[in-house]
């Protein structure tokens, strides 16, 4: 059938619509493009068979559509007119969907979208956050119509815009309309589309050509692909309108051959257009002639560059040529040519139909309309989204994208593909438009968005893109051909731990020059991944160079295993887990003790960053490394390491984890170490800061006793500054290590803090731990703070029989710094946490009766990417209480310590963080007094580094940091298969008994449990060592 006039087309549209309206079918729209990889065609097939079998053909239409957007949940389908959305559908689900949903209208909850945090179900498309925030213009038909059906396109007002321009608009008016719409080229550079058309129209040469750039080559970009696959006519209609506007009668779609579905659907679309008279001579009898060809590209990235693309169409080697002349002047076959990308053309018909005013009202002033983004990387809802310009990155990534997978920390988003740049967390609230993105060193590009998280190495990311670019460089111009190779090589060197600081300068210099002098956009932007990562993540580069370590645990040659690399003291978890597997607990303990002086402590109270990085966590849950360590410490045989104390005397101040660790490693090197402790017990914060239900006193004593047996002498009740002066000690001891904890609490600095019943958290814990009697029976306790100390204080208060314990925190749950496990346990124990409340004044005559508080709300984002809490006016209220415990933070008590002034700045001692050297020769320091309140294992790491430096110092060597090369000495090569059982949950005391007891909560693994758990280890380092 051939449409010979505009009336023919309109009549045809009406016929189609009437027929459709009459049929009243239930339509099941199945994504058959992107979801194909996840079995969509099998689902489709099952549907068709099932419908046939049940003779439902008249009632149900099974429609193959293009992409619905939510690729993360593939295969997806939608059911009209119910407006339902089902995800991750398998062929097995199909009979149920037909029986229950299609025939009875019942919703199958299993297949419904669930909120990733709350678990709430969203059966209807209109409610799903992923869709709710979007505005679909380009993707108007994507996922709705069958892309192979021109009829369905026509039914949805397809080719109405073409009719409008052919019958009622002059070419100049079309151009004016597009100019007024503010549409800018969606291929990346954002050149105003209308102006480009005007240039081509005014160019003198004949004939003129229209080209659609569908050579989408960015890794991680699939916008154009989805449009071509899902709605090819929207692009073709745009091309026809453009052809009419500029006066062209021939056009090419340059599409990459790697998009077979796009090519297939395009071919069908063009074929049907010819057949019904929308292509060819005298289209709809309007006198407009247009022919359209498909040119399949062979997959060279550079052919996305317009001059290279044109060369490729002409049959020449696809390399760029210098501009000017621009294609608008001399393009295809030397004739004026208009090139736009897929998305640009897809915007044209709606602009013509709804008007420039409508379009320009969307988005921002400089960036009108919507933009399609392909959301990829470490984000939960990977997929295709179309949003108005000006929306913030945060809304795209967190609201639509559902945030970062596996609760990782967002690091940066790479926009614009390999030529683009990364934008770090502090700019998450940047509106997404052409200018804003480029102001931060990124680009809009064609709309790729690759989200990275803490597990992404930014050097590796830059290297990945440079590897891509050096491969895709056409090789024509020198800066790009050799420059990208050299940049890649430098990055490669850095990721292999062979980089130097000079390499960074070289990279900058090279990047600038390549950018400045390359022939085409590929070269000119090839340095962007480097420049933007260097701009925002230079520290990561430096870490690779200085420490020969990859902080994200990505760079192959710089990692041993993620758990070990992440551990501040590099505990060889896979090493000791190996021994557990073989039942050799003593062997395991020996491995632990090589690096860790306090295994029993760490097995209980360490915050175990190792588990967060554990590769097993990417399959199900991480290996329970901390508890396995505890198991070893509890079950292993403790034999003091043999040492010969033949060397100089070294004094260590403070017997906390930093001091003990320093002493432990020093005695092993033969030094005579004496520790001076101001408290009546040894262990520092371990003894007086951590409640015994987490770390029993005898357990702590066990670790310390072993150290003592190795020859370390601990002097209790010896306070530096008071009884002993630092400089006097220096006379007797050749070197000093300061490892004092943060024992001085910070106050809220509000009126009434000195009232009776107000106590600081640290004071409170110390008293309890030292056996002082505090009775809180029947009292109502308010704890201020959000860290681990606040949680400890609250839980201890509960155990001291407090009637009611409340934690008041001025920010929300997401911002709370205390560890998740602790918060959970506290909540289980019925401790009440009140968020967004800040204290103003402590009320009461002499004794506390309450605290005047104010509600807070989140305001603007600060530099760290966190939103600032600000008080809500007029929300002052009084929270009654009997006891107030202030647990906001603490600092070292420098006043009392009376340390030399030159090494103290503010609340910290200034040291070289790699060597622990202070500015005074022979004095070293580490732990909380250089870091502020920190973790046990960080303090231990400092102590160990201090010991290494002290040894060097005393041997007269230069004290400088040398990155430690971790050895992988294994006894066995393990070949076992990966076991599939879940992480073994540790037994805990029953809630009822535990809340009123100081008894240790966790029980620890049994032999069997430990064995099972140890077998879950994937031994991800097993390919990095050989058994001799």
């Amino acid at each position: 059938m051939k449409l010979n006039s505009v009336e023919d087309l309109n009549r045809y549209k009406e016929i189609l619509r009437n027929k459709n309206n009459k049929s009243k079918k239930i339509v099941v729209r199945i994504c058959s493009t992107g979801c194909r990889a996840f079995g969509a065609l099998e689902v489709l097939d099952t549907f068709l068979k099932e419908i046939k079998k049940r003779r439902l053909n008249d009632k149900v239409e099974i429609r193959q559509t293009g992409c619905h957007g939510l690729c993360a949940k593939a295969p997806v389908l939608a059911i009209d007119p119910l407006g339902l959305f089902y995800q991750q559908v398998t062929p097995i689900d199909v009979p149920n969907i037909i029986s229950h949903t299609i025939l009875k209208g019942k919703i199958l909850d299993k297949l419904v979208y669930k909120d990733l945090k709350t678990g709430e179900s969203y059966p209807y498309i209109k409610d799903i956050p992923f869709y709710k925030e979007q505005l679909k213009i380009v993707l108007r038909n994507c996922g709705i119509i069958d892309p192979t059906s021109i009829e369905q396109y026509i039914m949805r007002d397809g080719y109405q815009a073409l009719i409008k321009v052919l019958t009622s608009m002059k070419p100049e008016e079309v151009i004016e309309e597009v100019k007024n719409s503010g549409l800018r080229g969606r291929g990346g550079a954002g050149f105003p589309t209308g102006r480009k058309w005007e240039f081509v129209r005014n160019s003198k040469g004949r004939p003129k050509y229209i080209v659609c750039n569908a050579d989408e080559g960015d890794p991680g970009a699939f916008m154009d692909r989805a449009v071509l696959e899902g709605d090819p006519h929207s692009v073709l209609e745009g091309m026809l309108i453009a052809a009419y506007a500029i006066g062209a009668n021939e056009g090419y779609v340059y599409v990459r051959a790697e998009y077979p579905i796009a090519v297939y659907n395009l071919k069908i679309a063009i074929d049907k257009m010819y057949r019904i008279g929308l292509l060819g001579d005298n289209i709809l009898s309007t006198g407009f002639n247009f022919k359209l060809y498909i040119k399949e590209g062979a997959g060279a990235f550079v052919c996305g560059e317009e001059t290279a693309l044109l060369a490729s169409i002409e049959g020449r080697r696809g390399t760029p040529r210098p501009r000017p002349p621009f294609p608008a002047e001399k393009g295809l076959f030397g004739k004026p040519t208009n090139i736009n990308n897929v998305e640009t053309y897809a915007n044209i018909a709606p602009i013509i139909l709804k008007g420039a005013k409508w379009y320009s009202s969307l988005g921002t002033k400089g960036s009108c309309g919507t933009k399609v983004f392909s959301l990829a990387g470490k984000v939960r809802n990977t997929g295709l989204v179309e949003v108005p310009m000006g929306i913030t990155l945060r809304r795209i990534i967190f609201d639509i994208g559902g945030g970062i997978s596996r609760d990782r920390k967002f690091k940066a988003v790479q926009t614009g593909g390999p030529s683009g740049g990364c934008i770090p967390g502090k700019y998450l609230d940047l509106p997404v438009d052409y200018e804003s993105l480029s102001s931060k060193g990124a680009i809009m590009g064609s709309g790729g968005m690759i989200v990275t998280d803490e597990d992404t190495c930014m050097v590796d990311l830059a290297k990945f893109f440079l590897n891509f670019l050096r491969d895709e460089s056409c090789g024509k111009c020198v800066p790009c051909r050799i420059g990208t190779q050299r940049m890649y090589e430098i990055l490669d060197k850095i990721t292999k731990g062979k980089g130097t600081r000079e390499d960074i300068d070289l990279l900058y210099m090279l990047a600038e020059s390549v950018k400045d002098s390359s022939l085409c956009g590929l070269g000119q932007t090839s340095a962007n991944p480097i420049l933007s990562t260097l701009n925002y993540f230079k520290d990561e580069y430096m870490y690779h160079i200085d420490y020969k370590k990859c902080p994200a645990g990505v760079c192959e040659e710089l990692i041993t295993s993620p758990c070990r690399d992440t551990c501040p003291i590099n505990d060889d978890a896979q090493g000791y887990i190996d021994f557990i597997k073989r039942g050799d607990i003593d062997g395991a303990l020996a491995v632990v003790r090589k690096t860790n002086p306090l295994p029993s402590v760490c097995g209980r109270a360490c915050y175990h960053p190792c588990e967060r990085k554990c590769k097993r966590g990417e399959i199900d849950k991480p290996v329970s490394i901390r508890l396995l360590k505890r198991y070893i410490a509890d079950k292993g045989k403790w034999i003091p390491l043999k040492v010969k104390l033949t060397k100089d005397k070294v004094a260590v101040i403070g017997s906390g984890p930093a001091g003990l660790s320093c002493a432990y490693f020093l005695v092993q090197k033969g030094y005579k170490v004496e520790i001076f402790e101001s408290l009546p017990v040894s262990g520092g914060m371990l003894a007086v800061g951590i409640p015994s239900y987490r770390l029993p006193k005898d357990i702590l004593k066990r670790d310390i006793d072993v150290i003592k047996k190795m020859g370390v002498r601990i002097h209790l009740n010896k306070r530096i500054g008071k009884e002993i002066k630092i400089f006097e000690l220096r006379k007797e001891f050749k070197a000093l290590f300061l490892g004092i904890g943060c024992h001085k609490p910070l106050m809220l600095n509000i009126p009434g803090e000195n009232k009776e019943g107000v106590i600081t958290g640290i004071e409170f814990l110390r008293k309890v731990n030292l056996g002082k009697k505090i009775d809180l029976k029947g009292k109502k306790v308010l704890v201020f703070g959000g860290g681990n100390v606040a949680i400890d204080v609250a839980r201890v208060s509960l155990r001291l029989k407090a009637d009611e314990v409340n934690i008041l925190y001025r920010r929300g749950p997401d911002e709370m710094p205390a560890s998740k496990e602790e918060i959970e346990e506290a909540l289980e124990e019925k401790i009440n946490i009140m968020y967004f409340i800040a204290p103003l004044e402590v009320i009461g005559d002499k004794k506390v009766t309450g605290v005047k508080c104010i509600k807070m709300e989140l305001g603007d984002f600060d530099e760290s990417g966190r939103r600032k809490p600000i008080p809500v006016k007029g929300s002052e209220h009084i929270v009654p209480c009997d006891v107030v415990i202030i647990a906001i933070s603490q600092v070292p008590d420098f006043e009392m310590l009376n340390l030399p002034k030159e090494i103290v700045v503010g609340n910290k001692i200034i040291v070289d963080r790699d060597t622990m050297v202070t500015s005074i020769a022979g004095i070293f320091a580490g732990g909380d007094l250089v870091r502020g309140p920190s973790t046990i294992v960080d303090a231990m790491s400092d102590g160990k580094r201090g010991a290494i430096s002290i040894d060097k110092f005393l041997r007269g060597e230069e004290v400088k940091f040398v990155p430690e090369k971790l050895k992988l000495d294994r006894l066995y090569k393990l070949e076992e298969e990966v076991v599939n059982w879940d992480r073994i949950d540790v037994k805990k005391l029953k809630l009822k008994t535990r809340a009123c007891s100081f008894e240790e909560i966790e029980e620890g693994f049994s032999d069997k449990e430990a064995l099972l758990e140890s077998q879950r280890c994937l031994q991800c380092d097993k390919n990095r060592y050989e058994i001799k």
């Binding site: 090789g475 420059g483 400045d516």
Partner: protein, 898 residues
């Protein structure tokens, strides 16, 4: 084009729009470095070394490609620009072997030059380097792409100058480099070894093989000269060190070959210092040559010459002058013949090539020379190449044809029985049967006339004889034309329309037209086409007989012909004779026109021959007969640089110097008079031909005393009006095209602008005459002879160049596939080919290049002398050229009998 103002480095410049930044900078001596830019090649903008800063533009721009615009402010040397250039050089060097100490290009290498200028001695970038195998499999050049900087010049030269497409970029990114299909080495490709890629390589990646280790930039001197091979007369430089020619470079004066050369011009120079060169005069004693000194040799010559003159009179002498010798030498030779010996029996090989063109064009337009210039070829609207295998015989002219077709959209008509390379570029190819040119051309004329494509105005103003011509042409039946020529009517009509409708058209022809008994008629037919359409006497339109040898035009101009004095002044006109007698200071000059080449050979009255720089025994028809005939001579003097086949029969052999050893001038096919300069001392005791002639003449009593060939040219200028304004200073480096009417005349780019030398052009209807021999049962095949690219003439020169012999080691007979089936032979078989006059044994090359029933053999080789088959009796009645292009032969498969 309007004037605009720009500012370069603070300098305000007003200039024409439409230029690039680099062009303007060059005009104002602002130095911008460049690697990929080459003025004769398309702009690549690839090396990026020429980047400059333009105010208001974000990135640096490549000045070679960026057009200027009004108000543009340009910085060519800002710190930003310098930094970028340094990085580019450093990057290049990071992938470049720093073996300048042994690199041939050292001293001339552009990378080295700019590294020096920008103080880049090493690279901070350490990483991958190319590790590519060298290609040294061909004898001409070495390709070591480890040194390649990917400027793309060689590729552009191959693709857009030579249109050979042997190299292109392969791979992408860092692995990108020049390469051929399937990584073949050059010897395995279709490479024609023009070496133009080598000439444009700015570094040492492509190097002439023979120069290796011989000397570098500072060791050598460049001497301007002219290529001694074909009639294009390419401008070259001889690279000389220690009296040796080390290699050849094309010279670019912007007037002719733009530096481009063909394989012979670039690599065919090894004959100069070849050990075979004659170093002493030879005298034959008892059938054997003996070396002697000049005195003794010349004494003998004088003695014999005098004896014979006295005995038989002056017309017993036959003199062959040479199209390979200079104008001055040819002038002296004809003067010697006419004045000293007193005969007009002087001729040269032009007789065997363009004599018919001369006799035809003299009649129709009054001048036999190519009326247009070579560079016009690329600008014409239509080119009609008939009977000329331009890519092999005039390779550099062919570049203009290919460029016209590929870049300017020129329509090309090719008429040739053989599927020559140009047919690939042709809009229409007329594959006519050999010997049917008159028919074909008349057929085309008929269509032009009948379709009203004639230029009536031109005919009215400038042409005589149209009515009669039209009447005759109309009587021709196109069907008959088609029948006889074997070309379809459609194609004839198509060709006629293209030629007739073109705004400017040039007809180019060669031996395919002339070497027939109807040679003169053929050329007249061509002239007719040009006259009825007005495609002559205007810009980019005309007639172009492509001259075969380096100075064939000049030898004719100099009167080395039996019927004319220098400047085509007839010997039969007494006033002319008197003019010459006066100038030459003699009382009388012979008045009877002399014998032509073939007539001299056949005429028993010739007792002595003096042959300079020719080898008629191989080049003239009917070898066997000729060899016998020469034995009848009482005395034979051959003057040559080698002991060629004719010299072997001589009584005295005089050693001449090659083109590299003397001063002089050549006149090329487009009438360009160009200078040779002495680059090395004469080899051995050889002497330049002009000195030998002077010495013989002087010692025979007529003093020829010239200190330098320029004095001879001054004498020529006095006698020849078209050379009137010519002198050595005026010729200069780039040459000058005659007519040069006075010392202030700039020379003439195209002829017949306002009128023809004979007043109005003449249309002469020509009637088709079948060739002398036609195929029959006994001799079923038509043999054509001709040249190939890699050899020249009778191989006295090319036969001594190893590379050329490697490429074309032996003669081949081209036989159509269908004929091969009939004969029962395959490629490589040795076949016996015989005519009524002789037989040869030659290797078969089965190809569809020749049509069924026609075969082709080159005449270069003495191993299979094609001229043993050719017909010396069938001559064009006007020009006396033999019918080389049609000989009937039979072909027999090799049998055990022989």
């Amino acid at each position: 084009m309007n004037k605009i103002k720009i500012n370069i480095d603070g300098l305000d410049i007003e200039t024409d729009s439409g230029k690039t930044i680099m062009e303007v900078a060059d005009e104002h001596n602002v130095h911008i470095p460049r690697l990929c830019y080459h003025k004769s090649l398309p702009i690549q903008a690839a090396c990026r070394l020429c980047v400059v800063e333009v105010e208001g533009i974000r990135n640096l721009v490549s000045s070679c490609s960026y057009p200027i615009s009004d108000g543009m402010k340009i910085l060519t040397n800002s710190p930003r620009v310098v930094k970028a250039r340094k990085v580019i050089l450093e990057l290049l060097i990071s992938n470049h072997p720093l073996d300048c100490m042994t690199c041939e290009e050292c001293g001339k290498c552009l990378l080295q030059k700019y590294a020096y200028e920008y103080k880049v001695s090493d690279s901070r970038f350490k990483g991958r380097k190319y590790d590519l195998p060298k290609d040294d499999k061909n004898p001409f050049f070495i390709a070591d792409y480890n040194k390649c900087i990917l400027c793309g010049r060689c590729i552009a030269a191959c693709k857009e100058i030579q249109y050979c497409n042997v190299v292109d970029f392969v791979n992408r990114g860092f692995d990108c480099r020049p390469g051929s299909e399937y990584e073949k080495t050059f010897d395995k490709t279709e490479c024609v070894f023009c070496g133009n890629c080598v000439s444009v390589c700015p570094v040492g990646a492509l190097i002439e093989k023979d120069r290796i280790g011989k000397g570098r930039e500072w060791d050598i001197k460049r001497v301007s000269s002219i290529c001694p091979y074909c009639g294009v007369g390419c401008q070259i430089s001889l690279i000389v060190k220690d009296n040796n020619v080390l290699w050849i470079e094309g010279r670019d004066t912007g007037t002719l070959n733009n530096g481009w050369l063909c394989v012979k011009g670039r690599f065919g120079y090894k004959f100069i210092n070849h050990p075979d060169r004659l170093k002493k005069p030879l005298i034959k004693v008892n059938g054997k040559f003996k070396e002697t000194n000049w005195d003794e040799a010349i004494d003998l010559v004088i003695k014999e010459f005098t004896k014979i003159k006295n005995k038989y009179g002056p017309d017993a002498f036959g003199i062959l002058s040479s199209a390979k010798c200079t104008n001055e030498e040819n002038y002296l030779m004809q003067k010697f013949a006419r004045v000293v010996l007193g005969t007009n029996n002087i001729d040269h090989c032009a007789r065997l090539c363009h004599a018919p063109s001369v006799s035809a064009l003299s009649k129709t337009v009054g001048s036999a020379a190519m009326s247009v210039s070579i560079e016009d070829i690329s600008k014409a609207d239509c080119l009609f190449v008939i009977g000329n295998n331009t890519t092999e015989t005039h390779p550099v002219t062919a570049l203009y044809i290919k460029k016209a077709v590929n870049s300017n959209g020129t329509k090309l008509i090719v008429a040739d029985p053989r599927k020559i390379e140009l047919t690939n570029y042709a809009t229409v190819w007329l594959r006519h049967k050999t010997g049917t040119d008159v028919m074909l051309l008349n057929g085309i004329a008929k269509v032009i006339i009948e379709e009203g494509l004639v230029n009536k105005e031109f005919i009215k103003d400038r042409v005589d004889g149209y009515e009669e011509y039209e009447r005759e042409i109309k009587n021709i039946s196109l069907d008959e034309v088609s029948n006889i020529t074997k070309v379809s009517k459609d194609k004839i009509i198509q060709a006629a329309r293209i030629y007739g409708k073109a705004s400017s058209a040039i007809i180019l022809w060669g031996m395919g037209i002339t070497q027939h008994i109807s040679g003169t008629d053929n050329a007249i037919s061509i002239s007719n086409l040009a006259l009825i359409t007005g495609h002559i006497g205007k810009e980019n339109a005309g007639v172009a007989p492509l001259r075969g040898q380096c100075n064939v035009q000049g030898s004719c101009d100099m009167g080395a012909l039996p019927d004319v004095y220098p400047g085509y002044q007839s010997v039969v006109k007494s006033e002319i004779r008197e003019k010459f007698a006066k100038e030459w200071n003699v009382s009388i000059l012979p008045e009877k026109p002399g014998l032509t080449v073939v007539e001299m050979m056949q005429n028993k009255t010739i007792k002595v021959m003096y042959i300079m720089g020719e080898n008629p025994i191989l080049s003239d028809p009917n070898y066997n007969k000729l060899k016998e005939e020469l034995k009848h001579l009482e005395f034979l003097v051959v003057q040559d640089i080698f002991l060629n086949e004719t010299a072997e029969l001589a009584d005295v052999v005089l050693p001449a110097s090659s083109f590299a050893e003397k001063d002089g001038t050549f006149t090329n096919t487009e009438r360009r008079i160009q200078r040779l300069n002495k680059a090395i001392n004469p080899v051995g005791e050889s002497k330049p031909d002009w000195q030998i002639i002077c010495e013989i003449s002087t010692r025979m009593g007529y003093a020829m005393k010239y200190n330098h060939p320029s004095e001879i040219m001054d004498e020529i200028a006095k006698l020849v009006s078209s050379y009137a304004g010519v002198n050595y200073a005026k010729i200069g480096e780039s040459g000058i095209q005659w007519p040069v009417l006075s010392s202030t005349h700039p020379g003439t780019k195209f002829l017949h602008k306002e009128k023809f030398p004979i007043g109005k052009g003449k249309l002469i209807f020509t009637k088709y005459i079948p060739p002398n021999e036609t195929e029959d049962k006994n001799y079923p095949y038509l043999l054509m002879t001709g040249r190939i690219l890699f050899q020249y003439h009778t191989r006295t020169m090319t036969g001594r160049v190893d590379g050329l012999n490697w490429k074309a080691p032996e003669p081949l007979i081209e036989i159509n596939t269908k004929d091969a089936l009939k004969i029962g032979c395959k490629s490589g078989d040795r076949l016996k080919v015989s005519s009524r006059r002789g037989e040869i044994i030659v290797k078969a090359n089965i190809t569809d290049k020749v049509p069924e029933g026609e075969v082709f053999i080159t005449f270069h080789y003495k191993d299979a002398i094609a001229n043993a088959l050719t017909n010396d009796e069938a001559l064009d009645p006007y020009s006396k050229i033999p019918e080389y292009k049609v000989t009937v032969v039979k072909i027999q498969e090799k049998t055990t009998k022989w």
